[in-house]
């Protein structure tokens, strides 16, 4: 047994050298221990723990062959041991599901955001968010279907700041050719795989001529290799204006880190709010799934009113990643039936249901679908 584990670790360590899979999305780790996957679970703060408990409950009920290795990250602690343990656990398992870890911004600048540390250490370079209007949810705009691809590791989030003179602070935004090419390539490949017709690059190259100029140039280079997909670009302020008035003109959008933050939140708001949209962070070797807008939700924590949809849909994305498509579709179908047909909604989308009522309804729908479940 020890030799097997050692060989597995050695193979994994040598993977970058032996099996160079440049530009591929992360390969799921081989299922260990008799066909059951192990996934790292980081509860986080606010509504994270309760929503992830519901995920575990649902998985247990649906007999999903996934075991969770729970790793707690204490946001109040100044040492980086917690987050380093979490990172090591993800390296070991290859896949994670996480809640947001709160960042107390009154702490000194060397106390970096834990979520950001996780993303950069694991090189999760692509953040993907698929915004789709759900028929059962009341919104001002209908039939939105936009995929947002956001560079996840550099840009304004480099955490490189210094105070050269008292009262004057400089913050560095880094754009590199490699990362820009990588994210553009990811966007175009995804567009092709999903049969989408247009990719729009969002930038501010008229002002940040070198930085965003480089990003835009890389996107154009990659676009030339995909002649079947249309490519255009739009300046970020115009993009937000167009999103609130004519969102249907957008198909797939690719952009650097900060603009991605803004645009993804605008789109999440357009389709119904932070409780509905799942997000995925992909690297070459690892994948981490969470809610798209990464909210901690402190004010609604532990009151049984949070919307579990985003986190549950994120767990379905994770199951798809592990190639457990049947389970993913079963759970996703049940979630969408509850949302669109049964119309059991939580407070954030105008209903009166509690979190547990929604989860129970999903479990009932799954049970009625066949003899695959345990007792409720």
């Amino acid at each position: 047994k020890h030799t097997t584990i050692m060989m597995a670790t050695l193979t994994k360590a040598l993977k970058p050298i032996l099996g160079m899979q440049f530009g591929n999305t992360a390969k799921p780790p081989p299922a260990k221990y008799g066909g059951r996957h192990t996934v790292t679970l980081i509860p986080g703060d606010g509504i994270g723990p309760e929503l992830l408990n519901h995920v575990r409950e649902l998985f247990r009920f649906s007999c999903v062959p996934v075991d969770f290795e729970v790793v707690h990250v204490n946001s109040a602690s100044t040492s980086e041991d917690d987050i380093n343990n979490a990172i090591m656990a993800i390296r070991r398992n290859g896949v994670a599901l996480k809640g947001n870890v709160e960042t107390n911004h009154t702490m000194p600048p060397n106390h970096k955001s834990r979520n950001n540390l996780l993303r950069t250490s694991l090189d999760l370079y692509a953040n993907m968010m698929h915004c789709q209007s759900l028929p059962g949810v009341q919104t001002r705009h209908k039939n939105i279907d936009i995929i947002i691809i956001r560079e996840n590791t550099e840009g304004e989030y480099s955490s490189l700041e210094h105070e050269s003179v008292s009262g004057v602070v400089e913050s560095l935004k880094i754009i590199t050719r490699n990362n820009s090419l990588r994210i553009a390539d990811y966007a175009f490949r995804l567009a092709r795989d999903k049969g989408r017709r247009r990719v729009t690059a969002v930038h501010k190259a008229n002002i940040m001529k070198l930085g965003d100029g480089l990003f835009l140039q890389c996107c154009k280079e990659v676009a030339s290799g995909y002649p079947d997909i249309e490519f255009d670009s739009m300046i970020v302020d115009n993009t937000t204006m167009q999103l609130v008035s004519k969102p249907h003109q957008f198909d797939v959008m690719v952009m650097p880190n900060l603009y991605g933050n803004v645009v993804s939140n605008v789109c999440a708001g357009l389709v119904g709010g932070p409780g509905l949209v799942p997000g995925a962070n992909y690297g070459r070797d690892y994948a981490v799934f969470e809610t798209a807008t990464r909210n901690t939700g402190k004010s609604i924590a532990n009151r049984n009113i949070a919307n579990p949809t985003a986190m549950l849909l994120a767990s379905c994305l994770m199951l798809d990643h592990l190639k457990l498509h049947d389970y993913a579709n079963m759970i996703r179908g049940a979630i969408l039936t509850t949302m669109n047909e049964t119309r059991l909604h939580t407070v954030d989308i105008g209903g009166q249901g509690t979190t547990s009522e929604v989860v129970q309804s999903i479990m009932r729908i799954i049970q009625s679908g066949g003899p695959l479940t345990t007792e409720i």
């Binding site: 989030y157 210094h162 602070v169 913050s171 501010k204 302020d237 204006m241 900060l258 993804s264």
Partner: protein, 365 residues
């Protein structure tokens, strides 16, 4: 015989007198304002605004100036000295859209104006316009954007081939100045709260400094509520329920994005007013849409943006009565939906639209 004489204007004072009776002559202070018509549709919408102001009997006289850049001594680009002198004398300006030529060799005119007059605050009030339907009906907020530094400092370097660095500069002085302006604006316009928008969880030192200065200034304005919110949360909540927001104050880039987002909520740049406040009491109000060269000179343009900016200017000068009159006339015309320009959904000419507003203004007297 004069009982009271109040000086309202800070620039050159001229006045007109009107004999009302044998005993009383009313003196009205007329303030001079620098008018920069701009390019494309600029001249026609400026003419429209002047007509409406005349109909409203607003105590304004216009001094037209051109700001096309010229090369000064020493080879540096600058705005023509007549324009600069006029602005410094009058302190208040109204500007139409300026075209940014691509290969003219000089920087954008807007940038030049900003640097010349140290226009540190960009203020955009966004109010839903009754009669111009958008999916968002209850917007009433103001975005105040720091306009001199932040991500737009223009400092960029190529470190090695393929790695570029852009510098975002935040200084104590600029942050304090913009925060102070935001709170003063809140007090002068009876607004209830100021929200600082930031990303201090990621940009700890820079946005942290901005936030600290805002908090310090908030201490001196206890009558105004002060809150802080992350940029992404603001975006999320803004598209779901914009009625939660009142005044938003933020650094340059976030301000750029959010002010355009809010303009999109009320109907776009064609109906959004904007003002730039500078040091030394200078204030330039402008329309932020483009020059629309395809419809220039055809009497098809919509003067609403420039008109609302001019109304903002009147309020800044303390002429609330005239401001309210013109604004109401403009909104009534749009609400009526009988005489609307093409971009508002009608097929009237610019002159017809203007005439309708003039008529309403005169009827109000």
């Amino acid at each position: 015989q004069l009982d009271a004489f109040v000086v309202l204007a800070s620039g050159e004072i001229s006045y007109s007198s009107q004999q009302c009776s044998n005993f009383m002559t009313i003196y009205t202070i007329i303030q001079t304002v620098t008018l920069i018509p701009g390019d494309g549709i600029g001249p026609e919408i400026s003419t429209a605004v002047m007509k409406i102001f005349e109909a409203a009997k607003a105590p304004i006289q216009w001094e037209e100036r051109n700001v096309t850049a010229i090369k000064g001594p020493g080879g540096r680009w600058m705005i023509p000295p007549e324009a600069k002198e006029s602005m410094n004398k009058n302190k208040i300006g109204l500007k139409g859209p300026l075209k940014t030529p691509i290969a003219a060799g000089h920087p954008s005119m807007n940038l030049l104006l900003r640097k010349t007059f140290d226009l540190y605050a960009n203020v955009r009030p966004c109010v839903s316009i009754e009669g111009y339907k958008t999916p968002y009906t209850d917007v009433d907020l103001v975005t105040i954007r720091e306009n001199t530094e932040g991500e737009y400092s223009g400092i960029e370097h190529l470190i090695v081939d393929g790695v570029v660095q852009s510098i975002k500069l935040i200084t104590e002085e600029a942050s304090r100045r913009i925060a102070k302006y935001a709170f003063e604006y809140a007090r002068n316009n009876q607004r209830t709260s100021v929200t600082a928008v930031h990303k201090a969880n990621i940009m700890r030192m820079s946005d942290g400094l901005f936030l600290r200065k805002c908090r310090e200034v908030a201490e001196n304005y206890k009558d105004v509520k002060f809150t802080e919110m992350y940029l992404d949360t603001v975006c999320l909540n803004m598209v779901q329920d914009p009625s939660h927001f009142d005044i938003l104050v933020m650094p340059n880039l976030y301000g750029d994005i959010l002010s355009d987002l809010c303009a999109g909520l009320i109907g776009g740049l064609g109906v959004t007013p904007s003002g730039n406040i500078g040091a030394n009491g200078v204030a330039i109000f402008e329309s932020v849409h483009g020059t629309a060269p395809d419809i220039a000179g055809k009497d098809l343009a919509n003067p609403t943006a420039l008109l609302l900016s001019a109304v903002m200017m009147l309020r800044h000068m303390g002429l609330h009565g005239h401001a309210k009159k013109i604004e109401t006339a403009c909104f009534d015309t749009i609400r009526d939906e009988k005489v609307l320009t093409k971009d508002l959904g009608g097929n009237a000419k610019c002159s017809e639209f203007t005439a309708d507003i003039c008529r309403r203004v005169q009827d109000m007297d």
